[in-house]
């Protein structure tokens, strides 16, 4: 913190002047040698970019655990996954899941932030408590909810107690609604993080603005939508982008609750990749991994640009 405060007063002109003199001297290059970059670049290249390049090669082969030779087979992996329907189906499921997670996680996070905004002892405790699921393993969260959502589980028990009837909803057995339930669990695990980001965003809003709108006669609802909501844009950008990216890459919670079922209706790309990899169909798993890469690469940048633009409008 103190460092940040020290740096602020350094005038822009002084910094620029320093750059110019340094450039003239040519001493900068020796002061910041390129070899400092090499170890990181080597690790990044070998263990991150090289496997990604491999994706573009091995998706077009018949690499599997059943034979030692690997041959090029053209587009046959793609056509096979297209004809059996899993390619488009899993892409659709992953996208729907990501959008639902982003929606629920931000809704819960924002509501919690607004509820726990004031700095009281209870609120401080509650904020810390809502961060506990963030710290826990997603796999563990999945198992906890798997147990609670059984037809004879706690959730149905509570609903039965409240309604006075015997409730036996198969939360994890619906081909239509289970994906929504799993997305809500995912949002439950991460809502504490979104809450924190929204709380930080709310804190940056000038109290005078809110006060001014109150004096002008705006009620709380109006004040929120016309003053605070637009000013939360940076927090929304961060939260929506991280929730979308995180859930497109989702695996643990779905694997622990449904493992892709019922009837493959919660089969995210990563679930498919893990399952086919386990069956020894490495080339098919690689093909799906490439599809995930392309989907994220194609969607991520426009989404971030769109959200950033919303900020600039202000």
């Amino acid at each position: 913190m103190s460092i940040l405060e020290i740096t602020k007063p350094v005038p822009e002109s002084a910094k620029r002047a320093d750059h110019r003199t340094a450039g003239k001297r040519g001493g900068r290059n020796r002061d910041h040698p390129y070899w400092f970059l090499i170890p990181a670049l080597v690790v990044l290249f070998v263990f991150f970019f090289l496997p990604t390049l491999y994706n573009f090669i091995y998706a077009f082969t018949d690499w599997s655990s059943f034979k030692s030779a690997i041959n090029f087979v053209g587009l046959s992996n793609f056509s096979e996954l297209l004809t059996n329907g899993s390619l488009l189906e899993d892409l659709r499921i992953t996208l729907e899941y990501a959008i639902m997670v982003a929606f629920f996680q931000n809704l819960f996070g924002l509501l919690l932030a607004l509820l726990l905004e004031r700095d009281t002892r209870i609120n401080r405790f509650a904020r810390a408590a809502f961060f506990v699921p963030v710290v826990m393993s997603a796999l563990a969260v999945g198992y906890i909810f798997q147990a609670m959502l059984k037809p004879e589980g706690v959730i149905n028990g509570i609903l039965g107690f409240l309604t006075g009837q015997h409730v036996t909803i198969a939360w994890l057995g619906s081909t239509t609604w289970t994906i929504v339930v799993v997305a809500v669990i995912h949002a439950w695990k991460w809502m504490g993080l979104s809450m924190l980001i929204y709380l930080a965003g709310l804190k940056t809003i000038n109290e005078d603005l809110v006060e001014a709108s109150r004096i002008d006669g705006a009620n709380r609802w109006r004040t929120f939508w016309s003053i605070r909501w637009p000013l939360l844009a940076p927090a929304i950008t961060f939260n929506v982008a991280t929730a979308l990216l995180g859930s497109m890459n989702g695996f643990d919670i779905v694997q622990a609750t449904t493992a892709g079922g019922p009837g493959g209706t919660t089969e995210l790309l990563n679930i498919f990749i893990f399952r086919t990899f386990g069956q020894g169909l490495f080339a098919q798993a690689t093909t799906m991994s490439l599809m995930l890469f392309l989907m994220v690469a194609i969607l991520a940048f426009p989404v971030i640009r769109f959200l950033r633009k919303r900020e600039e409008v202000l």
Binding site: L41, N123, V132, L139, I144, A147, E152, G157, I273, F274
Partner: protein, 280 residues
């Protein structure tokens, strides 16, 4: 009019604590109570996890069953063996690279920076990583897993640290250079100490990711080396513990404790560290 608004506001404020407590109990209290109560029961009572109290509390006994009969202790050390070197490597390599990326200005550097942070967004190629590790002779080894994690999380560190170094005035480095310090000397004596708050935040984030990761571990070291989440996955999906919710939940409690304790102790720092980068 003013007294009316004031009293309305006061009434609304006085409801807030009850709402906060109710929401916390509903959303967190119930799941956590189920975990704690079920982990304290015997097998028969835990068959269907619910909110009823155990007739005989045996939480500690279940803990010792999990510790002695499962492979939790080796899995704990497996997790540490992989997490500690990964975090050290990713911080050191990331900080070194970030210093150059923040201080030098050219097209090449801008390109390398974009490449360096692209891993924040792009998903790792998890299948072909296995093939690559086989070719390198690192398949199923701790070194292979550490290298994969380092490659995956370097982007996060480069992003955080480069941004921070840009806020450090170059004059601080100049002063040390006047005294004859080499680049390594400047980096170690001037830059690294200033980076410690940022590196602390990055450490916490990356520990969280690696300690809880099961997806990448399943591909790279599954079946060869145990970590806590891998072990939990095997335990919960194999016949051994099937439907033995008291043991699964006891496992989950024990496994979450290290990070939970860290979080409780460092709460303020963690929260301010995570939020400072997000909202600008």
């Amino acid at each position: 009019m003013t007294s009316a608004t004031a009293s309305r506001r006061r009434r609304r404020v006085s409801l807030q604590p009850f709402a906060a407590v109710a929401v916390t109990i509903l959303l967190l209290g119930i799941p956590f109570a189920v975990v704690l109560l079920t982990a304290s029961k015997n097998q028969a009572e835990a068959l269907n996890p619910n909110l009823s109290l155990p007739t005989h509390w045996q939480l500690l006994q279940n803990f010792s069953t999990v510790l002695n009969e499962g492979r939790m202790v080796p899995a704990f050390f497996g997790s540490l063996l992989i997490m500690v070197p990964s975090v050290i490597l990713v911080l050191v390599l990331g900080a070194m690279a970030s210093w150059i990326l923040a201080r030098r200005k050219s097209r090449v550097v801008a390109f390398l920076y974009a490449l360096g942070i692209s891993g924040i967004v792009l998903p790792p190629a998890v299948v072909t990583i296995v093939l690559l590790l086989r070719q390198l002779g690192l398949a199923g080894t701790a070194i292979g897993m550490i290298s994969v994690y380092t490659g995956m999380y370097l982007s996060t560190v480069i992003f955080f640290v480069t941004g921070f170094i840009r806020t450090i005035p170059p004059e601080l480095e100049e002063a040390a250079r006047m005294d004859g310090a080499s680049p390594v000397g400047v980096f170690v004596r001037i830059i690294l100490p200033l980076l410690s708050p940022t590196l602390a935040t990055a450490t916490i984030l990356i520990c969280l990711y690696i300690w809880n990761d099961v997806f990448y571990a399943l591909f790279v070291i599954g079946g060869r080396l145990d970590t806590l989440p891998l072990n939990l996955y095997q335990v919960a999906s194999s016949g051994l513990y099937l439907q033995n919710w008291h043991l699964i939940f006891a496992y989950i409690i024990l496994m979450s404790l290290p990070l939970l304790i860290t979080f409780v102790v460092l709460q303020r720092k963690i929260i301010s560290g995570i939020t400072s980068g997000a909202v600008k």
